[in-house]
Point group: C2
Chain length 106, copies 2
Amino acid sequence: MGTVTGKVLPQPTRDEIRVETVLQALADPVRLRMVAELANSAEPIPCGHFDVEVGKSTVTHHVRTLREAGVIEVRQVGTARASTLRKDDLDARFPGLLTGVLSGVD
Amino acid sequence: MGTVTGKVLPQPTRDEIRVETVLQALADPVRLRMVAELANSAEPIPCGHFDVEVGKSTVTHHVRTLREAGVIEVRQVGTARASTLRKDDLDARFPGLLTGVLSGVD
């Protein structure tokens, strides 16, 4: 993981993460792809760098949905926003869920 | 597990179960409750016996959604339909997912 700086955007604490909300966040093919990309990335991914075939505003929407669900952490770095997967938090709250989900992504 | 008889209603084979569809099926609080109930039940649960505060036709809809996603198996027993969780199939396809999800249900 590279150096992570910048202000963390509002997000639920670990204990506030709810499984229904996580499932709703993951139950979208584009968001699922983004989560898989984050899981395979050693570095935070800027919003504009996700390998998905949707427009910028749609990515912004998906990033917010994932952040508000507690699936990702988003940091404001200057004018850019970079996302990381909250793997430790998800594994602590719902052991096995994330691994199981990612095993089903092509 | 009690004796399970009756005709199995159409459902995806284990290999046909897709993670996006499973997540969509689970991403509903009532369906999640039904799945948790099935996970805790030694016996198949008839449609009318789920402990959820929704009408019969809504339960029927949820049962179909779960069945078509591959989350549950539904058998027609006379005029009744009884559901069981496809735990083995889900565990084989997406190891950890179901356990992780259930750990988040109150």
